[in-house]
Structure formats: structure tokens, C-alpha cells
Symmetry: C2
Subunit: 242 residues, 2 copies
DNA sequence: CGGACTGTTGATTCGAATCAAAACCGGTGG
DNA sequence: CCACCGGTTTTGATTCGAATCAACAGTCCG
């Protein structure tokens, strides 16, 4: 019954990696424990030592940290097929939270099983490593986003990035994609207050760049959005040869 | 003649990884091409496809990105023993620049050689993977720093982090460490303007938290600095078992 | 000695946070 | 079916942190 789970992972890995038939079979043979969580539930908490990794099959999740004075910063948004806590395989203690945004279908795979898989299929070990490196590349771009872009370009960059990543796994239709996220969350991704987030969105709407509802994003003018954001997709490493 | 180079690497890896005797011998057997660069020289440029990785033996380097409208953001500061472009082993095209801060002694190791080493010593492959994951953990903390902390705490966090990392490789003496970096660079690490960077530093000096010259940092009151910064070293994963 | 960075200072502007309150929405239960 | 509730979005007024502009002083180096 873990076929959907395995399929999501294979789809995602194939975006940035060459998989062989044996690799795919090995993934399909994984023991994956399926679980369903509601929205805004903690999957893995900061400071804990998980013994398994979490594969997202359906829904969105994010990683976040809370500062000593209680402010939250979202570090990344994760989409189906990703394993947001793959780093726990090597870094035993969590240094952040992993939380669902929407209700999610998740698959849990034990560290032992993943170690065994990496040993048996070095090509998959490399693919997993590569995925964590792409993660890192996205973190770098987020540092730039938060450090050097102001409100509107910053928001535009986030939306264009999500579109590019969702498109790669076939979850967009002509500039539209599901994103059931609150403005508070968007603000926490961007290091902005809710109020300012709201004003930035109004600005983007007024300039007819996007429409955004509680559950859907529609990028109306891709060219102008990318220009506003200063977006260069190279950092997403969306092709296996790059 | 690459003994110093290999030693720097071994010292650094040992901070966060268990190395076996065979691992150490394998590293000592690496073919490392030594090179000396001056300050502010590009080691590896954005968009290129390097065929080797760069080990820092002496000096400091940083990774940076430049936005479409010419603003620079520094993404990480690298210290002796680190391989800042290890990701190029799996992500062929550079998505940022790697630049020296100070004059540096560097060791270049070909990708082929690193692949071969990883194949022969899986424990070293794991150690290298772990190093790139720690890199990622530091990026995450930098997102928080830039996104959610204001001037003074942000600067304090950077200085305390550098102290912790340098201490782990034995390059501090009682709160003091060499850091030959300009205020412009500090600002580019923190997403601040030079002018504001200067004012923040004055504030820290006035409160007798640090002294900072063109080449040296002295953390005067570690407790208050950490408190101001909201610093929790967990994300540095400085112990092999964590 | 001169020139080019680098650091410092003051005045002003601007983007974004904060505070406060309303409007909106989606669900829930009477 | 509607009143009510909590969370979310929106609006306006004000404050604040940080950028910008513009000089000037220091320092290093050839």
C-alpha cells in the first residue's frame, strides 16, 4: 500500500537525478509506514533524535526555528516527494522543527532501512546526498532573499521559486498552483510582519502580477514576476546533468 | 608537501566525525595541489563547472551571491580545514562565488580523487556528507539571523558563531581570534549597510561586549554576547555523536 | 607623499514594525 | 438557519530601525 508513497519519491528524485531500473525497484521495495496528519501538526520537533525520516506524499510542510524571544522563522517549504528531515540520517539531533502546513499523507522510513538502501544502491546514496545539497542551495538563495531584497521582490521570489519546484513535479497548471498557506506563514518565510506581508500582496495584486487566495496562487505575468524577483533558477539544479 | 593541507582537513573533520586510522592514512595519501592566493581573489566563480574541490589550509574565504541589481550577500565564512565547494562534487554548476578574504593557502583535490576516496572509505564519504549537512544547518541559522534578529543581536550572533567554530579547531585564545575582515564584509554577511554595521559595532563596543579591530576580534563578555544573540550552539553539531 | 580603501559622523529619508481596530470568513452548535 | 467564535485579512496611524546621502578622518601601501 506504500506504492503512492514510493511513487512520489521516485517522481521527485527523477527531477534532479538519473535513476536506474534497479534503483526504482529498490525504492518500491522500501518498508514505508504511512501516516496521516492534520494541518499545523509537528512532525519532528527541535532537539529530538528521530530514528526515521519523513517522506511527504501529499500536502505541504515546513521547517522552522523559533528565536529566544519567540519569533518564528520558516526555513523552507516542502512539497510532495521530498524528505525534509533526510539530514537526520547524519545529524542525529534536530536543530529545528518540521511541521505540516496542510493535512498531509506522510511515509516514515527507518534510518536503518535508508542506510541499508544506500549501501546496496550507491547511486541512490548519491541521489539522496544530492537532494540535501539542493536543499542547501535553496537555503543560500533564501539568505539572499531575506538579506538583500525588499518586500515585493522578496515575495515574488518565493512565489516564483515555489512555482518552479511544483512545476517540476507536475503540480502546476499554467501558472496556477495550490498553496494553502496563511499570510502569517508567508511573512515568517520572508522575515516580514503579517501587516507588511498583506500590503506587499496587495501591491502585487494591484500590478496584476499574481492573484492569491487562501488556497491558490496564480502567477499572472511570469516574465514580470521573474524580473521583479531577480529570479535565476540555476540554484534549483532541476536538471540531473547540472 | 601536502602534509599541512591534509592535517588541516583531518583536524576539521575530527571535530564532528569519528575517523579511523585508515581514514587518516587515506587522507594523507591524497594528491593535493597546493596554491597560494592573495586577499579578495575569486577561487571559484558562479556559473562555472569546477573539476576539483578547494580545501582551505590557511586563511579565510567566503561564499557570496550578487543579486540582479548588484547587491552582494555573503552566504558563509569558511575557516581552515573546510572544503567550501564540496557540493560541486554533486552539483556540477556553481550557483555562487567562492572568494578569499585574506591571503590563503589552498589545496585543490580533483573530483575523481574524492570519488575514489569515498568509494574506498565509506566512513569518509559519510563524514563529507555530514560536513555538507552542517553547512546547511549553518545556512538555516543565517536565515533566522538575517530574517528575525535586529542589528546588534545579529552581529553578536555572527561573532559568537565564528568564535565557536574557530575554538573547535584550536584557533582562539581566550575569547580572541584573528578575523581580518572589513565592515563592508560584515555588513554583507548580515544584510546591513556599512554605515549601520559601523554603528552596531560601536554599540557593542560601548556596552563592552567586544573589541574589534581590522584584524582581531575579542569577545569580552561571552555570557552577555550569547544572551544578546540568542545563541544556541546545537546547530553547529560540533560533537561527532550529535 | 599621494591615492585608495576603510572607518566614522551627521542629516535625512524610507521601508517595515508596531499598535489598534475593523471587516471577513469558515466552521460550530444551539 | 442564524448567532457566535476564533482565526485571518485588511485598514489607518504612528514609531522605529536601517538605508541613503554626503562629508570627512584614518590607515595602509606603493
Amino acid at each position: 500500500m506504500s506504492t503512492n508513497l514510493a511513487t512520489a519519491l521516485i517522481t521527485k528524485l527523477t527531477v534532479s537525478n538519473h535513476l536506474e531500473g534497479e534503483d526504482i525497484r529498490a525504492i518500491q521495495g522500501l518498508r514505508i509506514r504511512e501516516r496521516h496528519l492534520g494541518g499545523r501538526e509537528v512532525i519532528v520537533a527541535d532537539s529530538t533524535r528521530p530514528g526515521e525520516c519523513c517522506l511527504i506524499s501529499e500536502g505541504f510542510a515546513f521547517r522552522s526555528k523559533t528565536t529566544s524571544d519567540g519569533e518564528r522563522q520558516i526555513l523552507s517549504i516542502h512539497i510532495p516527494g521530498e524528505i525534509p528531515d533526510l539530514q537526520s540520517l547524519h545529524l542525529r539531533v534536530m536543530d529545528h522543527d518540521l511541521v505540516t502546513v496542510t493535512p498531509c499523507t506522510l511515509g516514515f522510513i527507518s534510518h536503518d532501512e535508508l542506510w541499508e538502501l544506500s549501501r546496496r544502491r550507491p547511486n541512490l546514496a548519491a541521489a539522496f546526498w544530492r537532494e540535501t545539497l539542493i536543499d542547501g542551495a535553496i537555503f543560500r538563495e533564501w539568505i539572499v532573499n531575506v538579506g538583500r531584497r525588499e518586500g515585493a521582490p522578496r515575495m515574488a521570489h518565493l512565489l516564483v521559486e515555489l512555482h518552479a519546484r511544483l512545476k517540476a513535479i507536475g503540480r502546476t497548471r499554467d501558472g496556477e498552483f495550490a498553496l494553502p498557506i496563511t499570510q502569517t506563514d508567508l511573512g515568517d518565510c520572508l522575515g516580514l510582519s503579517v501587516v507588511h506581508t498583506n500590503r506587499v500582496l496587495q501591491q502585487l495584486r494591484k500590478e496584476e502580477l499574481v492573484t492569491l487566495t487562501r488556497s491558490e496562487v496564480h502567477i499572472l505575468d511570469h516574465r514580470r514576476m521573474e524580473e521583479l524577483a531577480g529570479f535565476d533558477p540555476a540554484y534549483l539544479h532541476l536538471s540531473p546533468s547540472h
